[in-house]
Amino acid sequence: MLVISCIKQVPDTTQVKIDPVTNTLIRDGIPFIINPYDAHALEEGLRLKDRYGMRSVALSMGPPNTVATLRKAYALGVDEAILLSDRRFGGADTLATSKVLSAAIARLAQEEEVAVVLCGKQTIDGDTAQVGPGIASRLGYSQLTLVDRIEWVDPLKKRIRVRRKLEGRHEIVEAPLPVLITVVRELNRPRYPVVAKRLEAEDREVALWDNAVLKLEEESVGLKGSPTWVSKIFSPEREQGEIIGNGMADPHGAALLLLDKLAEKDILAL
């Protein structure tokens, strides 16, 4: 039984600058990190492995240097790491990305039953939160987004119960397996790799699946298969704000004025 964690290598956004001419990210010399939400998806995969003896797989679509991030997944303890990389996959939007990931999951499912697919709720570079749901729709899996707790998985009855974190409330949901889950950061605290695993990971091979393996139609993947594209990136102009009261002289009074203002605009749920 497989638990698959989909992870994306993203530029360390605290270090990213946007090229004002081309409207693209300046990536030169910017270190990459695992998308922070995906780190929790990876951790939950490892916990399901520990709890139910599932085999954990880390899956990532990206350029060849994504191998570094997948090695980190090995250091954390996944059983298998697979890189989906092909020049033809480049420039993909969320639709094309979900197609490639779905094809890879379907391929894994031919060999071994897939129980759970985990994705971060969104990435910090794209922020669309569309790829996870896209995979669920494409594969016909149950779709549970914004999960902050996995209550249990019943491998025999093939059911799962999770808690979803919604605005102002939680929702307990049961669904049949296989399931696609997108996770929020409250779900778990990612583990820290032990040195022995790190050293072991340096020698582990990351499987490379290109389109010769996945055999997807060229028109459906990468830039060609992407109906959306980024035309411009910019920081929105911020309107001049208003200074309320005199916080230096009378912080208490200023705080009260601010409360009134927020209540007036109905921003506070009072």
């Binding site: 605290t14 270090q15 820290y192 032990v194 050293l199």
Partner: protein
Amino acid sequence: MDLQHLLFIAIFALSTASFVYSCQQRLGLLGIGAREDRFDRPGARLAAAMSYAFGQKRVLARPYGVNHFLLFWAFLFLLLANGEFLVEGLVSGASLARLLPAAPYRLLTALFDLVSLVALVSVLVAAARRLFFPPSYLGNDYTSAASGEAILILAMIATLMAAFFLMNAAHIALGTGDAWRPVSAALAAGLSRISPHALQMVAQAAWWVHALVLLAFMNLLPRSKHMHILTAIPNCYFQSLEKPNTLPREDFASGARYGVQEVGQYSWKDLLDSLSCTECGRCQDLCPAHQTGKPLNPRRVVHDIKVNLLENGPHLKHGGTGGVPLVGQAKQGTISEEAIWSCTTCGACTSVCPVLIEQMPKIVKLRRHLVQEQASFPEELLNLFENMEQRSNPWGMPPADRPKWSAPLGDRTYRPGATEYLFFAGCAGAFDNRNKQVTVALANVLDRAGVSWGILGKDEPCCGESLRRLGNEYVFDRMARQNVELFKERQVKKIVTQCPHCFSALKNDYRQFGLEVEVIHHSQLIAALVREGRLSFSRQPELGKVAFHDSCYLGRHNDIYLEPRAVLEAATGAVPAEMPRHRENAFCCGAGGGRMWLEEQSGSRINLARLNEAVKQQPDTLCVSCPYCMTMMEDGLKDLGLDRVAVKDIAEVAADALRTKP
């Protein structure tokens, strides 16, 4: 040969065999320890042993130590008397009188008498102290239990002396003794009315009491904390000639183990340390964690290692496993994780131990295991570890922001061959708003003195010091190797730091990674510039009364006490006020050993304990020489609501004194 003689020979043989057996049982356990070379530089080792063991340097640092000093030397001297006593017991008629001419023999035996009196008085003083006015650090949970043992030992020594006098006095009264023994002779005067027969009985009884107590004492040594009588001198000889907190590097290879999980992974010297502890309590008395109610007591750590060794050692020696975990729920022989994470690595314990036990490195070795093999550490450290690895600074700030502090000063890039000093601002000096002011102040001071300096800008890495103290040696090792490469590539020859933690790491720890450059702390550089007349202070800054707080990593770990004080004196025209605990005995701010990045979960706050001591000096300005101390002292003053006291780095004071009058 009479029956008594035979009986003594039999008892002597049995007790000697038993003594040798228990020594061999205990010292044999050192063999399970890991290898560590402590046999190099015999000259330096001998000198240390002379000064610390025979000179009792650290024992004498406290007034009461004089008593131990007298007892120690009396003991050494009386070894000769007791040796003679035992040989005479075994071989009738054997005596030093046969070896020595009459005059020296008389002098020697007269001295035996006087020294025995000194020992007796010392022992009585020691017993009285323990019983009637014990210092606070002797009233600890497990040492009160060990107090019985201490009293027993003292009683034995007192009995030995009393029996020795009585025996000699009886012989003098009988006319067969050495009448020149002053104490015995005085005692003999009091025995004059007793019949010769009774005197014979007294002499014989005293001889037997002396003999039996002596042999019992010998056998008690290896089974008690008085083992230190046998191990303290070798323990001083095998001391660390490195800085004690510069732990050996680890070998990262497949199948290797990291740090210490079970007692056999400690080095043989660590184990010898545990057998050498006298439980005197000096370390716990200075330990900031212990003094503020944390579950760490360095003495307890050493004691638990010993208990664990004695319990598990025999099994480990024969390839088995020990039943008592070294790390776990605190009990005899087991150290709790909370205790391990409470250490600030301030080094007070190692700097005060009379027999040179290295307590703090033992704690860091346990951390190495917890971090690297178990990934078990306080939650707050996860962010720190990832930020360090990802962005080479503790806060995860963008590396590109590192040189922002220098922007108003123009391009100050370090140029190989052209720039003299690499100014290593450090993470706090580059990112922390308060400490950035110190960085700028130091830059201004250096400019005024015409010092050639440059920075690495966004390429400046974190030194990784916190990682090493927290036991994350794997990441530290990688950072240190990369950084040494970077320094070499930029042809760095001299480095000046404003942070004692960067300073200590680059100066001491990086040596293990092949960095052979001059590393100095800004207090040393500014003091030198003042000395050379390159800085002339034009005005006295309005600081009011100034008190100085020692940084552990500048002071205890690198013996720099005079320079920061010299800078303050030159800049303010006054000698800074000292707190009761200063220099070698200074009390930590609470942020060392990676504690900067951890919450204080139990006990009271270390920085407040230090500040309570500082404010008793009624300072207007508290001067520091370390960014961590700066943060801890400023935060603490806010907590105490003492806004009137300012905290300043010595570089700021110097910069202020250089400013021309407005």
